[in-house]
C-alpha cells in the first residue's frame, strides 16, 4: 500500500507507483460478500434431456467456478452457500427448518472447494440426497437465515449480494402466508443493503417471474434495464456469464473532474477493465509455526545507531559528479503540475490514433451523476457526437496528487448487447495512454527486398487456412494457472497438481494438417533449396566469436602477462579475460572494476620481477 511504500522509496519508486496505478481499487471500504441460496427441491435434481446435467449440478459447477475465481482474484471476499427446501436442517442456531447452511459466510479456502466437489455430478446428487435431502420449502425462513449470516459477520461489508438459484417459479404451493413472509424477509434484507438476484433456471413450461419472484428480487440498477424479462439460463455457460457479471462489484479506481474548459466540469469515475493479473506476492511465514510474519523496516544512523525519522533523511541524486540534495517534499513537489483530473485539449479523427502509440493498458470512464448532476447527460452528448463523427477526445490526465501529467485519447464506445441481451460492451470512453517524445525509440529499420505477388498470394492461402475468431477471453495465463494448481495440490494434499492445458502453445499438428502442402509450396517460392532458416543467424559474432576468444585467452601465459604489463596494454583486454587471468595467477580480487583488476595483475607482475 501507498503508505508503506514511503519507506522503500529509494528503490525504483516509479515502478512501484505503476503497480499502485493499476492496482487501483484498494480503498478502505470493507469486503464484498456473496451468498448463494440454492433450491434443493426434487425439481432441481431432474436431469435434462439427452443426459444434460440437472439444474442442481449446473448450479454447483457455477458456484465452484465462482469460488475458485474468488480465491484467485479476490481472496478477501466472503462467500456462503445455503440450501433451502432440504429435509435436514443445519444453521447456526438451528432455528430454521429446511434450511441447510453448507458454508457459512467466510473467505473461501481449499476445503470449501473440496466440499463443493462432493456435490458435483451423479455422485453429488446422491451425496446431497443423503446429507440434506429434499423437503418442505420456506423461502422466508431461508432469507431470514441468510440475514442472520450477514449480521453475524464482524467485518465491515461493502457490498452484499444474494443470489437465488431455482427452477421453480412458485414456491409455497399457494400458501399465501408463506409467500407474504418471504416478501417481508426479502424487503428486510434489501433494506439492509443486500442486493437480491434471481438466477432462474429452466423449468418445463417456462419460468414465470411475475408469479412470485418479481417482489423478491431487487429492482434493476436503472429502470430501463430489462432485468426480469430475460430468459432462464439453459446452459452452464450462460449461467456462469450471468453470475460473473453480477458477482463482481464494479468499483471505480478514482473519481475525477473532467473539465471541458471555462468552468464546464463533469464528474467521471475511472475504471480498470483490463489489468495484468500477476502471481500474488509471497507471504513470509515463521518456519516453526507457519504463522505469518510482518516486516518492519527502519532506518538508523550508521555511526551513532540512532533511529532515523523521516525528517532526518533527505533525497539525493548524482549528476555531473555532483550530489544534488532535496527534501522528500520537494521530490514530490517536482512531480506536481496541476490538480488531478481530465482536461480536454481538443478532438482528432480516429485515424490519428496510431496503433503503435501504446504504452499502458487502457482505462475506462463513466459519468458520476452523484458528484456533479448533469454529468451523465453531458457525457452522453459527447459520446454520441464523438462516435457519430468518428473522433476521439484528447485530454491531459493527472490521476493523483503529485503525479505528472500524461496525454490520453478518449475513445468513444457505445453500448452493445449480445444475443442473450446481456451487455457485451458498456457505454463510455476508453482512456488510451499516448506516448511522449521520450517514449518513442529510434529503431533503425531493416530494409530488404519485398515479396512478389505470387509469394504474397501463397501466404494469403496460408493465412486463410489458419483463420480463427479471436476472443479476448480465450487464453488463460498458463503461469498463473500452474501456480494456482500447484497451490491447490499443496493445500488439498494432492499427490501432484492437476495438469493445465497451455492455450498459448500453437497447436502445431493441427496447423500442419490444415496447411497440408502449402507450407512447403511457400518455402519453395521464397527460400533457395540450400537455405536453412532455422540455422543460427550468421550475423551473431558476439556469441560465437566471443566464446572462442575467451577460451583462447584463458591460458594467458606469464610471458604474455609480462608483455602486457610492460607495454601497459592490459587495458585493452576485456574484463572477463582479466578476471580469468587473475584466477589463473591465483590473485583474489575484491572488485570487478577493470582498473582494480589491472592494478592487481600489475602488482603481481612487479612482485615476480623483484623475485
Amino acid at each position: 500500500m501507498a503508505e508503506r511504500r514511503e519507506y522503500y522509496q529509494n528503490e525504483d519508486d516509479e515502478v512501484e507507483e505503476d503497480e499502485e496505478d493499476s492496482g487501483g481499487d484498494y480503498k478502505i471500504s470493507g469486503r464484498d460478500s456473496l451468498v448463494f441460496l440454492v433450491d434443493a427441491s426434487k425439481e432441481m435434481f431432474i436431469k435434462g434431456e439427452d443426459g444434460e446435467p440437472s439444474n442442481f449440478d449446473m448450479t454447483m459447477q457455477c458456484v465452484r467456478s465462482v469460488y475458485t475465481s474468488k480465491i484467485i482474484s479476490s481472496d478477501k471476499d466472503l462467500v456462503a452457500l445455503v440450501f433451502y427446501g432440504t429435509e435436514q436442517s443445519k444453521n447456526p442456531r438451528n432455528s430454521f427448518k429446511h434450511v441447510y447452511v453448507y458454508h457459512d459466510l467466510d473467505s473461501p479456502g481449499s476445503q470449501c472447494i473440496l466440499d463443493i466437489d462432493k456435490l458435483l455430478g451423479e455422485k453429488g446428487a446422491q451425496f446431497a440426497e443423503k446429507t440434506m435431502g429434499s423437503g418442505e420449502t420456506s423461502l422466508g425462513d431461508a432469507l431470514w437465515c441468510c440475514s442472520n449470516l450477514y449480521s453475524d459477520i464482524k467485518l465491515r461489508l461493502s457490498h452484499k449480494r444474494l443470489m437465488i438459484f431455482t427452477c421453480r417459479d412458485e414456491h409455497h404451493g399457494g400458501d399465501g402466508a408463506k409467500d407474504r413472509q418471504a416478501r417481508t424477509k426479502a424487503a428486510d434484507l434489501k433494506e439492509t443493503g443486500v442486493v437480491i438476484d434471481l438466477m432462474h433456471l429452466t423449468k418445463p413450461g417456462g419460468f414465470d417471474v411475475s408469479l412470485f419472484f418479481c417482489d423478491i428480487v431487487s429492482p434493476p440498477e436503472d429502470e430501463s434495464e430489462l432485468g426480469l424479462q430475460i430468459e432462464p439460463c439453459r446452459k452452464l455457460e450462460d449461467l456462469q456469464k450471468r453470475v460473473r457479471a453480477k458477482e463482481l462489484k464494479k468499483r471505480s479506481q478514482s473519481r475525477l473532474t473532467f473539465s471541458l474548459g471555462e468552468g464546464v466540469n463533469l464528474a467521471v469515475g475511472v475504471y480498470v477493465l483490463a489489468r495484468t493479473a500477476t502471481k500474488p506476492s509471497a507471504v513470509k511465514l515463521h518456519r516453526d509455526t507457519n504463522e505469518p510474519v510482518r516486516t518492519k523496516t527502519r532506518y538508523f544512523h550508521a555511526h551513532n545507531g540512532g533511529i532515523l525519522l523521516p525528517n532526518d533523511m533527505k533525497r539525493a541524486q548524482v549528476y555531473g559528479k555532483k550530489q544534488i540534495v532535496m527534501e522528500k517534499d520537494e521530490v514530490d513537489e517536482i512531480k506536481k503540475f496541476d490538480d488531478p483530473g481530465l482536461v480536454l485539449m481538443g478532438f482528432k479523427p480516429m485515424d490519428r490514433l496510431k496503433l503503435h502509440h501504446h504504452i499502458r493498458p487502457a482505462l475506462f470512464i463513466y459519468p458520476e451523476e452523484e458528484q456533479i448532476s448533469g454529468s451523465s447527460c453531458m457525457f452522453t452528448a459527447l459520446l454520441l457526437n464523438c462516435s457519430e463523427k468518428n473522433l476521439f477526445a484528447l485530454c491531459r490526465y493527472i490521476p493523483r496528487r503529485n503525479t505528472p501529467p500524461r496525454f490520453v485519447a478518449l475513445v468513444p464506445q457505445r453500448e452493445e448487447l449480445d444475443q442473450s441481451q446481456t451487455q457485451a460492451t458498456p457505454p463510455g470512453f476508453h482512456v488510451i495512454f499516448l506516448p511522449f517524445a521520450d517514449d518513442i525509440r529510434t529503431v533503425d529499420a531493416h530494409v530488404g527486398p519485398t515479396a512478389s505477388d505470387e509469394q504474397v498470394d501463397k501466404m494469403k492461402e496460408i493465412v486463410h487456412k489458419l483463420r480463427f475468431k479471436y476472443k479476448s477471453d480465450a487464453f488463460e495465463n498458463p503461469v498463473l494457472q500452474q501456480h494456482y494448481r500447484n497451490l491447490e495440490a499443496l493445500a488439498l494434499n494432492m499427490l501432484e497438481p492437476e495438469p493445465i492445458e497451455d492455450l498459448t502453445m500453437p497447436k502445431v499438428q493441427m496447423m500442419d494438417a490444415r496447411l497440408g502442402p502449402l507450407a512447403q509450396e511457400f518455402k519453395d517460392l521464397v527460400y533457395p533449396p540450400d537455405y536453412n532458416p532455422e540455422g543460427k543467424p550468421a550475423a551473431k559474432p558476439e556469441s560465437g566469436g566471443g566464446a572462442a576468444e575467451k577460451k583462447a585467452k584463458v591460458e594467458m601465459s606469464e610471458e604474455e602477462l609480462k608483455n602486457h604489463v610492460a607495454k601497459c596494454t592490459l587495458g585493452k583486454l576485456t574484463v572477463p579475460v582479466l578476471k580469468d587471468a587473475c584466477k589463473q595467477f591465483g590473485i583474489r580480487t575484491t572488485g570487478t572494476k577493470k582498473q582494480e583488476l589491472i592494478d592487481a595483475l600489475t602488482i603481481l607482475q612487479n612482485l615476480c620481477l623483484i623475485n
Binding site: 470493507g30 510474519v293 539525493a316 481538443g346 454520441l384 501529467p405
Partner: protein, 727 residues
C-alpha cells in the same frame, strides 16, 4: 553489447569586447552566447552520455594555448580540455565566464580548437568530432590560411557549427537542422546592419561551410535566439533498442528469421533518489534494517532464516518454499514468436492492448530470403486486414504472452507491430447502466448540436493551404514534462543549493495547455454548452461521515450487532470479578484499558502508556482495517482522561500523533478523528488543560504544513517514542 558511440566537441566562444556591445533593448551577444553554452552543457550533464566537451575562449585578456608562440595565437585561452561535462563546468560558466577586453581572430581560435581536438582524441575512439563557434564575426581575419584550414578539417573529419547573432542570409534558414519541436521564431535582423568585418566574416563562414558540407552546410549555422529556444528542452532520453533475434514460426515447418526491437515503451527516469542523512548528506550514514516479527502482542522478532515463504489460497496460507516453487512452476521452452492463428484486425480491440510496449519485428538483417518471406506475410495480412495471433516469450525465464502482430507497411520499410493482448484472468467484465436510451440522461437535440459545435471548434487537426491535414497537437513530439521539470529543478538546486525550487518553466506549461488558437475558437461554443447543460456539484446531504459509517456498525446493519459491540466496549462486570486483566492486550484494548482504570491495578499513567503502545501498534500495521480499533482506543483514552481530570497525557499524545501524520501517512485516520470530533481536551472539560475550547477545535484542522509546525508545546521533533519514554 555495442558501446554507445561518443563524440568530442569543442565549444569555442568569442568573449571579445565587440560581443558585449548591443543595440539598446537587446541582450548583448556575449550574454546570449553564454546562455547557449550553459543550456548546452546542462543538457549534456543530464543526458549523461559519454560525450566529451572542451571549452576555448577567444578575445580573452590572457593567452593560454598550445600553439601560442612568438605573438601568434594570442588572446586565445583553452579554458577546459576535453572532458565529460559536469557541474564544475556549469559553475565555471556561470561565475567565471566574463567578457574580455581584447579581440582575436576567430580563424586562429578555430585552429586552436582543431589542435586541441586532435591532441586529445589521440588513441581514443570518437564517432564524431565537432567544433562549435559562437561569435559575432566582428574582427579582422586573415583569410590566407583558409584553404589549408578547410583541408585539414576535411582530413580530420571535423564538423563545424556556427552560432551567430544574426541569420546567415537575411532570411531565416535555421529551421532545417533542429531536432526539437516548436516553431523557430528567430528575429530576422537585416543583413544591412553588419559591419565590414562581419560581412567579410560571413562570406568566409559560407565559404567554409559549403566546402565542408556542400549545400546542406548552411543549415549548421544558427542564430543565438533560435538555438536558445531549441536548447531549452532537455535532451530526450535516447536509448538504443536492443535487438531481439528470434524465429517466427507457422506450424512446424515454416520458419522465418526475425529481429524484434522495442519501438515504443514508457521511458522512466534513469536514476532513482538515494536516501541521505539530513545533516551530513552522506548516503553511508543511513542504514536500513528490515526485521521480521510475529503478529503478536510483543511483536516477537524472528530471524530471517527462520522464515519460509507461503502463498494465500483463499483463506488458507499454503507454505510453499522457493525451491518447490521453482521446481513446480510453469516452464517455458525459451524464446519464441509462434503464430497461433490469424484473425480479422477488427476483432482485436485497441483498448484491450496490454503490456507496456510495442515491438517492431523485421526480418533478420542482411538475410534477403527472410526479408522476402516476412514481406509476403506482412503484405498478405495487410491486404486481408488481418493480424497474426502469436505466442511471444522473450526468453526462457520470462512469462509467455499472447499478442497480436499487425502488418505495417511504410514507404521505406515493412515490419510487424507486436502488442500484448489480455489473458482471460486480466479482464473484468463490468456492466454499466444504459446511457443513451435512458430517458433521464438523454440529451436534447439542441444540447447535441451545442456539443457538435463545440467539437467542431476544438478540432486539433486542421487543413493547411494545400488541403493537407495538419495535426497541431502532436503528443509524440512533446518531451515528457516530468523529465524536463526534474532536470530543471536538479540543475537549479545543483547551482543554488540554498534556493527554493524554481517555478515550472513557462514554455513547458504552455506545451501542456490547449493550443491558443483552439482556445480562442471554442470560447463561444463553450459558453453555449455551459448554458444548455445544467451541471451542478452535488452537495452531499450527509457530508460528514463518522467513522462508524465508514467502518462497521453502520445504520444499515441489524441492531443485533450494535448491541453486541456496545456490550464489548462497555466494561464487563464479569471480567472484573475474575480480576484477570493486568495489562492492555491487543484483542480488546479498550475494554482492558477501562478495566485497568476502574480497577486501579496500575497507575493511570501506566494504563495510558500501555494503551498508547497498543494504538501505536495498531497504526503501525498501516492497515486501515485497524483504524476503527485505533479510534475506539483514542475515544476511550479521551473519555477516561476527562473523567479522571487528567488532560495532559491525552493532549500531548494527540499532538505527537498529529505531528507524525504526514510522515506516517495517517491522513485517513486523521480525517476520521475530525469527523468524530476527537480533539484535544480543553479547559472547559478539564481544569488542568492548557488549551482553550477554540484551540482544541482548531487543533484538528490540518490544512498547511506551517500550521503543524506552528502547533504549540514541545518544540522538539516530537515523536511517539519520545512520548512513550516520557510517560
Amino acid at each position: 553489447m555495442a558501446r554507445a558511440a561518443k563524440s568530442a566537441l569543442v565549444l569555442c566562444m568569442d568573449v571579445g569586447f565587440s560581443m558585449s556591445n548591443s543595440e539598446p533593448g537587446q541582450e548583448p551577444s556575449f550574454e546570449q552566447a553564454k546562455k547557449v553554452i550553459q543550456k548546452f552543457v546542462q543538457r549534456q550533464v543530464f543526458a549523461e552520455n559519454k560525450d566529451e566537451v572542451g571549452l576555448v575562449l577567444f578575445g580573452t585578456d590572457g593567452t593560454k594555448n598550445g600553439l601560442a608562440e612568438d605573438g601568434q595565437y594570442e588572446n586565445i585561452t583553452v579554458h577546459r580540455r576535453l572532458m565529460m561535462p559536469d557541474f564544475e563546468l556549469l559553475e565555471e560558466i556561470e561565475s567565471k565566464l566574463q567578457p574580455g577586453g581584447q579581440q582575436a581572430d576567430w580563424l586562429d581560435a578555430l585552429v586552436v580548437c582543431m589542435d586541441l581536438l586532435q591532441e586529445e582524441t589521440m588513441g581514443k575512439k570518437f564517432e564524431r568530432l565537432n567544433i562549435v563557434l559562437l561569435t559575432d564575426l566582428n574582427v579582422q581575419t586573415s583569410a590566407d590560411q583558409l584553404d589549408v584550414i578547410i583541408d585539414s578539417l576535411k582530413k580530420a573529419r571535423i564538423t563545424l557549427q556556427f552560432f551567430l547573432p544574426f541569420p546567415v542570409d537575411g532570411e531565416d534558414r535555421a529551421d532545417g537542422g533542429g531536432d526539437g519541436p516548436g516553431p523557430s521564431a528567430a528575429p530576422v535582423r537585416p543583413g544591412k546592419g553588419l559591419s565590414r568585418q562581419q560581412t567579410q566574416g560571413l562570406e568566409m563562414v559560407k565559404n567554409i561551410m559549403t566546402s565542408l558540407e556542400e549545400e546542406d552546410g548552411l543549415e549548421e549555422v544558427y542564430t543565438f535566439s533560435d538555438a536558445l529556444q531549441k536548447l531549452s528542452i532537455f535532451k530526450r532520453i535516447d536509448r538504443r533498442p536492443m535487438a531481439w533475434p528470434c524465429h517466427l514460426t507457422i506450424g512446424s515447418s515454416l520458419t522465418i528469421r526475425i529481429v524484434g526491437y522495442k519501438a515504443v515503451t514508457e521511458e522512466k527516469v534513469k536514476k532513482s533518489w538515494a536516501i541521505v542523512e539530513a545533516q551530513s548528506h552522506q548516503r553511508d550514514d543511513v542504514k536500513r534494517e528490515t526485521v521480521y516479527c510475529l503478529d503478536d502482542d510483543n511483536e516477537t522478532e524472528v530471524q530471517k532464516d527462520d522464515t519460509i515463504q507461503g502463498f494465500r489460497y483463499g483463506s488458507d496460507i499454503v507454505p510453499f518454499s522457493k525451491v518447490d516453487e521453482d521446481q513446480m512452476k510453469y516452464k517455458s521452452d525459451g524464446k519464441c514468436f509462434s503464430v497461433l492463428g490469424f484473425t480479422k484486425q477488427e476483432l482485436i480491440r485497441r483498448h484491450q492492448f496490454m503490456g507496456s510496449q510495442v515491438v517492431k519485428v523485421f526480418a533478420a538483417r542482411d538475410d534477403e530470403h527472410a526479408a522476402v518471406a516476412l514481406s509476403a506475410l506482412i503484405r498478405a495480412l495487410d491486404s486481408l486486414k488481418m493480424a497474426a495471433i502469436v505466442r511471444y516469450a522473450y526468453d526462457r525465464r520470462s512469462n509467455p504472452q499472447v499478442g497480436a502482430a499487425f502488418p505495417c507497411i511504410k514507404e521505406k520499410y515493412e515490419c510487424l507491430l507486436y502488442v500484448q493482448l489480455p489473458f482471460m484472468e486480466d479482464l473484468r467484465q463490468f456492466t454499466f447502466p444504459v446511457l443513451e436510451n435512458n430517458k433521464k440522461f438523454k440529451p436534447s437535440e439542441s444540447q447535441l448540436s451545442a456539443v457538435d459545435a463545440l467539437i467542431d471548434s476544438m478540432m486539433l487537426v486542421e487543413k493547411d493551404e494545400d488541403g493537407e491535414s495538419v495535426d497541431v497537437f502532436k503528443v509524440n513530439h512533446i518531451p515528457n514534462p516530468q523529465f524536463q521539470r526534474l532536470f530543471q529543478c536538479l540543475h537549479h538546486r545543483g547551482v543554488n543549493p540554498d534556493d527554493p525550487l524554481p517555478p515550472v518553466e513557462p514554455w513547458l506549461k504552455r506545451d501542456l495547455e490547449r493550443p491558443q488558437a483552439v482556445s480562442a475558437r471554442c470560447q463561444t461554443p463553450l459558453q453555449d454548452v455551459k448554458t444548455k447543460f445544467p451541471l451542478k456539484v452535488v452537495v452531499k446531504k450527509k457530508e460528514q461521515k463518522t467513522s462508524a459509517d465508514v467502518f462497521g456498525s453502520s445504520a444499515d446493519e441489524p441492531d443485533a450487532k450494535k448491541v453486541k459491540v456496545d456490550e464489548e466496549t462497555e466494561f464487563n462486570l464479569a471480567e472484573i470479578a475474575k480480576g484477570n486483566i493486568t495489562s492492555v492486550g491487543s484483542v480488546n484494548p479498550v475494554r482492558d484499558f477501562c478495566t485497568l482504570i476502574r480497577q486501579k491495578t496500575v497507575s493511570f499513567d501506566q494504563a495510558c502508556q500501555q494503551l498508547t503502545h497498543r494504538i501505536e501498534q495498531l497504526l503501525g500495521n498501516r492497515s486501515p482495517e485497524y483504524y476503527m480499533k485505533s479510534i475506539a482506543c483514542i475515544q476511550a483514552f479521551r473519555d477516561q482522561s476527562v473523567s479522571s481530570g487528567n488532560a495532559e497525557l491525552f493532549n500531548s499524545y494527540m499532538q505527537s500523533l498529529k505531528r507524525s501524520v504526514p510522515d506516517r501517512n495517517l491522513q485517513e485516520l486523521w480525517d476520521l478523528l475530525i469527523q468524530d470530533a476527537l480533539t484535544l481536551i480543553s479547559k472547559d472539560e478539564v481544569d488542568g488543560s492548557t488549551f482553550s475550547k477554540q484551540d482544541a477545535n482548531q487543533f484538528l484542522a490540518f490544512e498547511q504544513k506551517e500550521e503543524v509546525q506552528a502547533a504549540p508545546v514541545q518544540e522538539d521533533t516530537g515523536d511517539v517514542d519520545d512520548l512513550l519514554d516520557m510517560m
